[in-house]
């Protein structure tokens, strides 16, 4: 009996230890090991989608970019001191307390995803020539997206290029996947950051597809980005050439006056060159888009009045009563509301297909911008041709429009206000053209240093996060901010 027991035990022990190898190997079921995640063209396409699915979130194009571009300027403001965007309007952000650090983190997350694609790209097998085109387009999209991100980092964290020829500090340039220790690089100048932008775009352009590709970058969005970057760096002739190419050769057309208001509810609209697709397909919380932790961004009618951003008196004066200009109708009247102090609000983004005002596809680039870039660049290169671009645009916006023969920079900046309100351009336009912005009068309630912002104000640049600097002190802070 005893022997029998001992034998059983030995047998059990033997069985268990021989199977121990496999016993300790486990795998997750909701994630995939990187070794097998990027092997085919489909995998790479999914990875490229991973770039855009990251950018659509509130902490990049979903909310922060439009907010940083609008609330620090004179077209839009926050209604009162409640709500999360107040700190942008009042410039109350500093190195320790600022939710806008997420923008830096998000940008580098997108850059990491782009770098991952570029590193695994070479080895993907192709069999047909159309495969090769797809594979090249993937590389192009990764590079073009990376260029866009570096461009955004330069203009949000650095001073305008035109102020000091890009001498101020810009982004940390990372062009491959890095480990924690390798990532401790210092910031490069804004000039070097733009160099990276132009270099990525140059490599990308020949590879990108020239067809429309809703929700993705293509040749035309890269070209328009290039034009915009040339404009920001005052390279007027190159800006003009690039913008002209988009105007003449791209498959996009300016949306007409009749369709203007509906245009913003459409996905893949006539003049949309690059938008980010937002769907409410998963998750309880918002899926990105013009959203603020599921509160709507824009102040709206009673039901939506949790939105905080309203139109300034200055913008109302500019446009509201000019009914011949279709763009005046983006200002919705708040005076008939039963809620006291209900202000005029921006009704430009009614939600994709009018389903839900909180679900819009953020518009990153559209054709109108090409015209405005061309006009502004032409002012420096070939002034007499500048008016032509503005006229073409205005004919599609204003009823019974008569062409003008010449325009000034102020005209162009004003036109940009009317066209791009809510899309995040105004603040950057003012800063890069050396203008200050003053927010007083009307409904403005900001005080102190927030009233007037000059291109050299310290708050033009966002602060680098204090806790990031604690992690790696090589990361330099922007001037004027405490540690």
């Amino acid at each position: 009996m005893k022997k029998f027991i001992i034998n059983i035990l030995i047998a059990c022990a033997a069985i268990s230890f021989t199977s121990c190898e496999g016993f300790l190997d486990t795998k997750p079921t909701d994630q995939v090991s990187s070794a097998t995640a990027m092997l085919t063209l489909t995998d790479a396409t999914n990875a490229v989608n991973g770039l855009y699915s990251d950018m659509k979130w509130y902490d990049y194009y979903g909310s922060y970019m439009p907010v940083l571009g609008e609330l620090r300027a004179d077209d839009l403001q926050t209604k009162d001191s409640g709500g999360g965007w107040v700190a942008v309007y009042t410039l109350d952000y500093n190195s320790e307390q600022s939710t806008y650090f997420d923008l830096w983190n998000k940008c580098y997350e997108v850059i990491m995803r782009a770098n991952t694609i570029l590193e695994n790209w070479e080895a993907i097998p192709t069999s047909t020539s159309s495969d090769v085109a797809v594979k090249n387009d993937i590389k192009g999209q990764a590079l073009a997206t990376r260029a866009l991100v570096y461009f955004d980092l330069a203009r949000t964290y650095g001073y305008p290029f035109t102020s000091d020829n890009g001498a101020s500090l810009g982004a940390v340039i990372i062009t491959r996947t890095v480990s924690a220790s390798e990532s401790r690089q210092p910031r490069s100048t804004v000039a070097k950051t733009y160099e990276q932008v132009f270099s990525d775009l140059e490599t990308a352009l020949p590879l990108l597809s020239r067809s429309k590709n809703t929700g993705h970058m293509n040749y035309w969005s890269a070209k328009l980005l290039q034009a915009r970057a040339y404009l920001y760096t005052a390279q007027w002739d190159k800006a003009l050439t690039a913008a002209q190419e988009v105007i003449t050769s791209s498959p996009y057309t300016l949306v007409s006056r009749a369709n203007y208001l509906n245009y913003f509810s459409q996905e893949g609209g006539a003049e949309t060159i690059f938008e980010l697709l937002v769907r409410r397909t998963s998750h309880l919380d918002d899926d990105g888009g013009y959203d603020s932790w599921y509160y709507p961004l824009w102040h709206g009618p009673e039901i939506n009045s949790t939105g905080r951003i309203i139109v300034t008196q200055s913008f109302i004066n500019l446009l509201k009563n000019h009914t011949e200009d279709i763009r005046s109708q983006v200002i919705k009247d708040g005076s008939t509301s039963i809620i006291p102090d209900h202000r005029d609000w921006l009704g430009k983004f009614p939600g994709t297909n009018y389903v839900d005002a909180k679900m819009n596809n953020p518009l990153v680039m559209r054709l109108s911008e090409a015209y405005l870039i061309a006009a502004e660049a032409a002012l420096h290169v070939n002034p007499s041709s500048a008016a032509g671009y503005i006229n073409t645009l205005r004919r599609n916006r204003i009823l019974n429009y008569t062409d003008v023969s010449s325009i000034t920079l102020d005209d162009i900046l004003t036109e940009r206000r009317k066209e791009f309100v809510g899309e995040g351009h105004r603040f950057f336009d003012l800063m890069r053209t050396g203008n200050s912005v003053t927010r007083s009068g009307g409904f403005h309630w900001c005080t102190g240093e927030a009233v007037t912002i000059t291109p050299t104000s310290k708050k033009v640049c966002l602060p680098i996060s204090h806790s990031q600097r604690l992690i790696y002190p090589e990361l330099q802070q922007n001037p004027g901010y405490t540690e």
Binding site: Y108, M112, G215, Y472
Partner: protein, 1010 residues
């Protein structure tokens, strides 16, 4: 001559009889202390299955007993004795009561030892000691009872997860919870629910089924559990029955619960209006442009106050919100258990129903539990046994914290006395004065947060005796937990509308733990003095989880909660997880003559959570003790009954909580109409265990036959801490799991036991314990690195719970402005303490302010006189600071003009020359209480009467047909503290509107039939 022959022949016969024959033996078994018979004592012939039970007077008789046999006498509560028959026909036995204290058997890792021989640091509590305390889980009954162990509730809602810390804490990321071992097998523990409520998987265990709880604190005690033992181990054994006649017990109790403390006193209606007016007036005076359009300051102030704190309206019904949000909660408990056994088997079975309501109608915990434990001697050398434990708990609650769904938060912050309850038509008023908050009362039934857990534990074991000294035991255990969570908001609830017309998310989790454990035990005494015991074994553990979720929205009607017919699918999916562990365990004990004891343990663990190159780890310990009182030179010494020194040193570990943390992985989501893929973590193939090195020294001293002192000192150092270390975000990730840094805990534990009176009618004892520990982070991943984890900072040289924020310096008596220290680092390494305003102040390490107490512990006393007995237990903690996060809601110095106002705001500065700590009130105050600072830190010292039980034995009334007693018991009855909220806060010190603790008073009856 004939006589001698007769004698010779009879003696021959006698001898022949005794050596070859059998004899009928009878006798009486009596108690040594008073000579009374021991009823139903077991009498067994050693080495055979011949056995019987004595009658109620202790008389027994056995037939056909071999004359050279040895009789074994045993009975519960008595020391077993063996008496050789030697051919006699009458064998009486006198049995001594089982000594408590040193000879008491204590359950420890993989076995049990006599307390006096144990070299490790462990404390045992008997289930009977806590049986009347009206709590749903045992953790709440032992707060303050074990030196070095701190227990707090994360929430006062029924079923909330307790936070248990044994000798401080040592991990940033891998968890600081101890390992739970139930009946020799590690068990699933922790909070596995996902319903927005805190829920413990240990809610399944009915405290009445517990026989003993042993808490293992040092390396010698815990190292046998190796890679999961760094935070200590809680060993629980459930009741197994006892030898003797069948005993059945019926117990019932019922009582009432309500908040234990007066939380957050608020300014009353007039005071609040006055404070609001003042804030607006001051704002108007400071900002003249603000009121110009209103004509005058008073018109402006009137308009603003009317907008945000409007006067009560005619016809509307206003209410004291506490009355409609909370109720007196009912606690009830019904149990029936039956236990018994014979010489060859014993069984315990129980069934119970417990229910504890919470103070809000949404909160409730119900439990049905059933247990059957049985073991039997299947043959001469083989013992088998098994247990089946089943429990079904149904927990309902609400989100804790500063949330719309938390009635406690709404009561204290949002619902002012000017907030109408009902409109003139008698309907609930559903307007709002504050963002999107609304009257919650009509929506209590539209808010769903439930966690139903069904747990089944099946265990079976076989123990075989190969040789008298060598035994082998195999245990197989299957621990199955099913968690059905549901949370959502139906239509009509403000959240339900935000997600569409109602939203319900169902999450199903199935957790299975399969454990197989085989041990070989060898125990022998050589040459009378050398006692050696060796244990060798192996164990395999397989944990798997399946997780399914399904969320839908857009329901037709709020009462229809079946998601089948909801229109919109929000989310649905399934995934599986698995984690495995393979181990080799061994243990060697040697003691010499009951004076010198040495123990060594060794365990080798292999885990699936680490890469193949790094997955095996070795854990060991060495300990020894010296029983000075057994030395020759100490015998006869009157001032020491027992004097023992012990010391231990050993290692243990902690596994990463992330099951696949070392791998490099891609995750997926949706983009547009297609899939998006992205790298989801920064891989680390070097990931390894957290390693804990502990040493412990202690003195145990008993004297005057009634006092006992235990003093312990320990140090535990943890290296290779697992940390989701912040990495530069230029990597594209914010954190990466790495082994970095090291931490140290040092501490002292003192406990004193006094048996003040101990005789037949009266007994009275008193116990007190005091513990203290210091915690210090020795190294982070990089020199000078600090990680901010609001409101703490982790940096070398400071503790894990070091507070980090702006330093509040008080109020400027001239202007009423709040002052903060500038907080920047000066060249000499100190902080710049120049008083500046909030915007100019930086966060700094608040030296001397930590959440770690200067001392904590408890004291209890038990008194009994004939049929009456009284016990009470107190717990205390002092020297620590807690972070009151409510400060930014109700002590905002005017920033918030919609919320309730804390009573402390009445002390605000009003005119130059005022000396106070509360600044001048001003609307939209950008410099005051809304912003983090050391003003949020408050001294957390408290003393609390944790439980009090008064019990009266009424057996005489029932004419001894049954044992019965009635009892009155209460929990959290008295609290002394300077805080304005319940002082039992988690170890981190951070408190943010979790439901406060409840005081419960119950009355009960227990009837035992024999």
């Amino acid at each position: 001559m004939t006589k001698r022959l007769f004698l010779f022949l009879s003696s021959m016969l006698f001898i022949i009889n005794t050596s070859l024959a059998q004899v009928n033996v009878s006798g009486t078994v009596t108690d040594a202390s008073d000579g009374t018979g021991i009823p139903y004592a077991t009498v067994m012939v050693k080495g055979t299955s011949i056995a019987t039970m004595a009658d109620v007077k202790g008389a027994y008789s056995l037939s056909k007993v071999p004359s050279n046999a040895i009789l074994v006498f045993s009975s519960i509560g008595y020391q077993t004795i063996e008496i050789p028959v030697e051919g006699r026909s009458i064998v009486n036995a006198v049995m001594s009561q089982q000594a408590v204290g040193l000879d008491e058997v204590m359950v420890v890792a993989y076995g049990s030892v006599k307390k006096g021989s144990y070299s490790g640091s462990a404390t045992m509590i008997k289930g009977d000691a806590i049986k009347d305390i009206p709590v749903m889980t045992f953790e709440q009954a032992i707060t303050g009872a074990v030196p070095g162990v701190s227990i707090a509730q994360t929430s006062g809602q029924p079923g909330g997860l307790p936070e248990i810390r044994i000798r401080g804490f040592s991990s940033f990321n891998a968890g600081n919870d101890p390992l739970y071992v139930i009946d020799d097998i590690p068990a699933t523990s922790g909070d596995l629910s996902s319903a927005n409520i805190w829920s413990s998987t240990m809610n399944y265990l009915n405290p009445s089924d517990i026989e003993t709880i042993t808490i293992l604190k040092d390396a010698a005690a815990a190292s046998l559990y190796g890679s999961r033992a760094a935070n200590g181990v809680i060993l629980i054994t459930t009741k197994k029955g006892q030898v003797g006649k069948i005993v059945s017990t019926f117990k019932a109790s019922a009582g009432v619960s309500y908040f234990a403390y007066n939380n957050y006193p608020l300014a009353n209606d007039q005071e609040a209006e006055m404070l609001h007016r003042e804030a607006w007036t001051n704002y108007a005076n400071d900002n003249p442009s603000s009121w110009t359009s209103y004509g005058s300051i008073s018109a402006y102030v009137n308009a603003k106050v009317e907008q945000y704190y409007p006067a009560k309206k005619e016809g509307y019904q206003y209410v004291n919100w506490e009355d409609v949000l909370f109720r007196n909660a009912i606690a009830q408990n019904y149990e029936y258990s039956i236990s018994g056994g014979g010489p060859l088997s014993k069984t315990y079975a129980s069934v119970g129903y417990n229910e504890q309501q919470g103070v809000n109608v949404m909160e409730n915990l119900k439990r049905i539990s059933a247990t059957i434990n049985a073991e039997a001697q299947a043959s001469k050398h083989i013992k088998v046994g098994g247990s089946f434990q089943f429990s079904s708990t149904n927990q309902k609650g609400n989100q804790d914290g500063a949330a719309k769904d938390n009635p406690f938060y709404l009561w204290k912050v949002i619902l002012t006395s000017r907030w109408p309850y009902k409109d003139p038509d008698g309907n609930y008023w559903m307007g709002t004065y504050n963002g999107s908050y609304r009257n919650p009362v009509p929506n209590f039934d539209k808010q769903i947060a439930t966690s139903k857990q069904g747990r089944t534990m099946l265990k079976g074991f076989v123990e075989a005796e190969i040789l008298p000294e060598l035994k082998v035991k195999t245990i197989l255990s299957y621990d199955y937990t099913r968690i059905d969570d549901r949370f959502g908001w139906m239509m009509g609830h403000p959240n339900g509308t935000a997600y569409g017309n109602g939203y319900i998310g169902d999450r199903y989790r199935r957790v299975e733990k399969l454990v197989s454990s085989t041990t070989l035990n060898y125990d022998k005494i050589f040459l009378d003095k050398h006692h050696v015991s060796v244990m060798l074994g192996w164990e395999a553990e397989d944990d798997s989880q399946q997780y399914t979720n399904l969320s839908k929205s857009d329901f037709a009607n709020y009462a229809m909660q079946s998601t089948y017919l909801a229109a919109t699918l929000k989310e649905g999916g399934t995934y599986n997880d698995k984690s495995t562990l393979l181990s080799l365990i061994s243990n060697l004990n040697y003691d010499f003559n009951n004076k010198y004891f040495v123990t060594g343990t060794f365990r080798r663990d292999g885990s699936s959570r680490l890469s193949p190159e790094k997955r095996w780890g070795n854990f060991w310990s060495v300990s020894g003790s010296w029983k000075l009182s057994n030395e020759e030179f100490m015998k006869g010494v009157k001032w020491a009954d027992n004097l023992k020194l012990r010391a231990s040193y050993g290692t243990s570990g902690t596994l990463p909580s992330d099951l696949y943390g070392y791998m490099s992985l891609f995750s997926y989501e949706i983009y547009g109409d297609g899939n998006a893929a992205y790298p989801s973590n920064l891989a680390n193939y070097d990931l390894t265990w957290e390693k804990n090195y502990n040493w412990n020294v202690a003195v145990e001293y008993d004297f005057l036959k009634r006092f006992g002192i235990v003093a312990e000192y320990y140090e535990r150092k943890t290296k290779d801490l697992l940390l989701d270390a912040s990495v530069p975000t230029t990597t594209g990730f914010q954190t990466a799991l790495r082994n970095v840094g090291s931490m140290q805990n040092k501490g002292v534990e003192l406990s004193l036991r006094a048996d003040i009176i101990k005789n037949k009618d009266i007994s009275w004892d008193f116990n007190i314990s005091w513990s203290k520990y210091t915690n210090k982070i020795l190294e982070m991943s990089e020199k000078g690195e600090s990680i901010v984890s609001r409101p703490h900072v982790w940096t070398a040289g400071y503790s894990f719970y070091q507070y980090y924020s702006r330093k509040y310096l008080g109020v400027d008596p001239e202007t009423g402005s709040p002052l903060y220290a500038k907080g920047t680092l000066l060249e000499d390494g100190t902080y710049d303490m120049t008083p500046v305003n909030r915007k100019q102040a930086s966060s700094m390490i608040l030296k001397g302010m930590s959440a770690i107490p200067k001392g904590f512990g408890g004291f209890n006393t038990n008194f009994s006189y004939k049929d009456l007995s009284v016990s009470m237990a107190w717990s205390y903690k002092y020297g620590h600071y807690v972070w009151d996060n409510a400060t930014d809601d109700i002590d905002t110095d005017g920033y918030s003009y919609r919320n309730n106002i804390g009573k402390g705001q009445l002390k605000r500065w009003t005119e130059p020359g005022d000396i106070t700590n509360v600044p001048r009130r001003i609307a939209d105050n950008a410099y005051g209480g809304y912003y983090d600072s050391s003003r949020f830190l408050k001294k957390g010292d408290y003393l609390r009467l944790k439980n009090l039980t008064v019990s009266y034995n009424i057996s005489k009334l029932l004419k001894e047909k049954a044992n019965a007693r009635v009892y009155l018991a209460g929990v959290n009855l008295l609290t002394f503290s300077g805080l304005n909220f319940d002082p039992e806060v988690r170890d981190s010190g951070f408190y943010d509107f979790s439901m406060p603790a409840m005081r419960t008073i119950t009355i009960g009856v227990e009837i035992t039939l024999k």
